[in-house]
């Protein structure tokens, strides 16, 4: 963990130095002559740094799964998050629906490059199971989101190339290509559209291992919390290969709820229903 933190700080300082040397008068947004890798990295770092310091959050999520025939099924989830600076966040997910998996708990310690640590609580067996961690590319509870799609954004996860500026729904965005560093990633690259004012993603196109357009995610209904942190309340993931669609509708976002490390111990899985 500390290794990543140091590395990312070092790279951060390096970028700042380079920026200072080459572009003393230009901001990241208007840097025209900066090389695309450095510019992409600088934008990613800005995304991360603007989303640092929120500490913890709780939210409810409804996941609407639509298949190619238009049939829908719904999952209801309660989410608790703890920020871990310099590494992936800790997350606790409790399922309320469908009813046969009600009370199932999923605890994850996500990591930027290393495999995640994951525990699953199965209420029918009252059993906490540590589960295999190479499944970042696998679907999350039958949805079009994979585990890596829903885990927290960390600069160290990707290498970056700035491509161009482009408007999305009338708002200017940076278009950046992210190449995953995690060896079990399901993607060769992601094209991300980052809002130039808020530094949050508005659209991501995912390319599969054969470098074919696989999925597109769009982020809508952004709201700001604590005068700083933007959260999308409506995310939509379209799978271009199987025609399926998954929507995430977020409600009851609350920050500074008093959660700390002990609330993300594997022992809490049993008592959270």
């Amino acid at each position: 963990m500390n290794k990543f933190r140091n590395k990312s700080t070092l790279m951060g300082s390096l970028t700042t130095l380079l920026l200072a040397a080459y572009l003393p008068t230009q901001s990241i947004a208007s840097g025209v002559v900066m090389n695309p890798e450095l510019r992409g990295l600088a934008i990613a770092q800005e995304v991360e740094s603007r989303d640092t310091g929120w500490h913890d959050a709780k939210a409810n999520m409804q996941m609407i799964l639509t298949n190619a025939e238009g049939e829908q099924s719904i999952r209801e989830i309660r989410q608790r998050l703890l920020e871990v600076e310099g590494d992936g966040d800790k997350g606790l997910t409790i399922f309320d629906a469908p009813r046969d998996i009600k009370g199932t708990g999923f605890l994850s310690y996500t990591h930027a490059i290393d495999a995640d640590e994951q525990w699953l609580f199965l209420p029918a067996l009252t059993r906490v199971k540590r589960i295999a961690s190479n499944n970042k590319s696998g679907p999350f509870i039958g949805s079009q989101f994979s585990y890596e799609d829903i885990s927290s954004f960390e600069v160290a996860k990707f290498s970056y190339t700035y491509l161009r500026d482009e408007d999305v729904d009338g708002r200017p965005a940076f278009v950046i290509e992210n190449t995953p560093k995690y060896k079990y990633s399901g993607y060769t690259r992601l094209i991300t559209w980052i809002d130039q004012e808020r530094y949050v993603p508005v659209k991501i196109a995912y390319y599969d291992r054969k470098n074919k357009l696989f999925k597109t995610q769009t982020f809508n209904d952004y709201k700001q919390y604590l005068n700083q942190y933007w959260r999308s309340h409506s995310q939509k993931m379209e799978n271009h290969i199987n025609g399926k669609l998954t929507q995430l509708e977020w409600t009851n976002y609350t920050f500074n709820t008093g959660l700390d490390l002990k609330d993300f111990n594997r022992t809490v899985l049993k008592r959270l229903k």
């Binding site: 469908p98 046969d100 190479n134 696998g138 679907p139 509870i141 002990k262 008592r271």
Partner: protein, 427 residues
């Protein structure tokens, strides 16, 4: 059934209810959930024992309905939780399988780095798939499922301490739950139905003997490890034979519950694609007092032994360019010679196929093969999927094989291959 509604249980239930009743009025959440399951079992071979309902009848069938509601209440920001989960099964054939239980009636209080549990609860320890050696707090509800995964509620007082160096749990278990056994009409039993109602105990306090358990567990990077100790009434029943009128004949099998001390280790290494799993126990049983129980003969080979279960689970993610995961499981079941544990020198091979689809479809196919005796094996299939937001189907099938001339755990139930189809409604 009468015994399961016991004094200790009632006292604990009252304590939980009375202590917490005033708090209920300010509880911030009240929920009722649970399920009802309709179940049909079809036995593919003729029953072999005279008293069984399907004696010499092909395709014997057994219908049942299981009720498992759950009430759940939490307050104090989720730091106080009360759960009540009664269970009842109605069975068309076996009056011993028709039974009830309080699976959970428990108050849990969390504060800082510790937790207190008071009431009837379910506790699972261990990592293995094919058998659970270390797991010892709860008694097996053996009539529920052949794999022994279903447990009876256990009255307890427990304290859990959550520290940087691991989690320590201490248990006081004031009441013992007797294992359930098929009745004389039912399948999956030895030649004589086990007379559970006449169980004998080493301890004069019988099922009121107070048992204790202690466990330390920790998660260190890729290693999850647990060390545990139990002293008290052994959960695994041994069998004593009562003599019949005819010389050398057997009148009945009765369970015998000895005092035991058990030390256990469970560990799992979680690598990228493979999970390595280990469970080891050392169990020591107190010597059987043959003079005190002169009217019975205990079937026991050794007073002390070691058993282990070691294996791995390898997961192939996204097989055949689908969203499916295929888990390949292999475990070896070891038991020191003549030790009472039945599962010994077996190899378990399994394939778990998880579709990762909207319906949550899952299939598990397994084989448990005895290494020393090629004729002894069991094969099982478990499959289930969601029908809609409230309904789920489930099919379990078991094929049991053993050599007739060898008396092993499987020999007695060798004709009891079955297919179990159930429909579960969740509310």
């Amino acid at each position: 059934m009468i015994k399961s509604i016991n004094v200790t249980g009632i006292v604990l239930a009252l304590v939980v209810n009375v202590l917490l009743f005033p708090v209920f009025s300010v509880a911030d959440e009240l929920e009722m959930t649970g399920f009802v399951a309709l179940e049909t079992r079809l036995f593919t071979e003729q029953a072999r024992y005279v008293e069984q309902q399907d004696y010499r009848k092909q395709w014997g069938s057994q219908f049942s309905i299981a009720l498992n509601p759950e009430w759940y209440r939490q307050w104090n920001g989720g730091n106080d939780v009360v759960t009540f989960r009664p269970f009842y099964r109605i069975d068309s054939v076996d009056n011993k399988r028709q039974h009830g239980d309080i699976r959970e009636l428990v108050w849990l209080h969390a504060q800082g780095d510790w937790e207190l549990t008071l009431g009837i609860d379910q506790v699972f320890w261990g990592v293995s798939e094919s058998q659970h050696l270390v797991d010892i707090i709860n008694q097996t509800d053996a009539v529920e499922s052949i794999d022994g995964e279903t447990k009876l509620g256990q009255p307890m007082l427990s304290v859990k301490l959550i520290k940087d160096w691991g989690v320590v749990e201490a248990f006081v278990l004031p009441y013992f739950r007797e294992r359930t056994f098929s009745g004389k009409d039912g399948r999956l039993r030895p030649s004589l139905a086990i007379d559970g109602g006449n169980a004998i105990y080493q301890s004069s306090t019988e099922d009121r003997h107070v048992d204790y358990a202690l466990r330390w567990s920790h998660s260190i990077d890729i290693l999850d490890i647990g060390l545990s100790y139990f002293t008290g009434t052994g959960r695994d029943a041994e069998f004593a034979v009562t003599r019949g009128v005819e010389p050398g004949s057997i009148a009945s099998y009765v369970p015998y519950y000895s005092q035991i001390q058990q030390f256990g280790i469970d560990a799992q290494l979680t690598l990228d694609t493979i999970l390595w799993k280990l469970e080891v126990i050392h169990r020591k049983l107190d010597t059987f007092d043959a003079e005190k129980y002169s009217d019975v003969v205990l079937i026991r080979n050794a007073n002390e032994g070691v058993a282990a279960n070691v294996g791995f689970e390898y997961t192939l993610v996204g097989i055949f360019e689908t969203d499916s995961d295929l888990g390949l499981l292999m475990e070896y079941q070891y038991g020191s010679e003549n030790f009472l544990l039945e599962a010994k020198d077996n190899v378990f091979l399994g394939n778990r196929w998880v579709l990762n689809n909207e319906d949550g479809s899952e299939f598990l196919v397994g084989l448990v093969q005895n290494v020393n005796d090629g004729g002894e094996r069991s094969v099982f299939v478990e499959a289930s999927a969601r029908i809609n937001h409230a309904l789920r189907w489930r099919v379990d099938a078991w094929l049991l094989q053993a050599d007739e001339d060898k008396q092993t755990g499987i020999t007695a139930i060798e004709k009891d291959d079955f297919i179990n189809v159930s429909l579960e409604y969740y509310f």
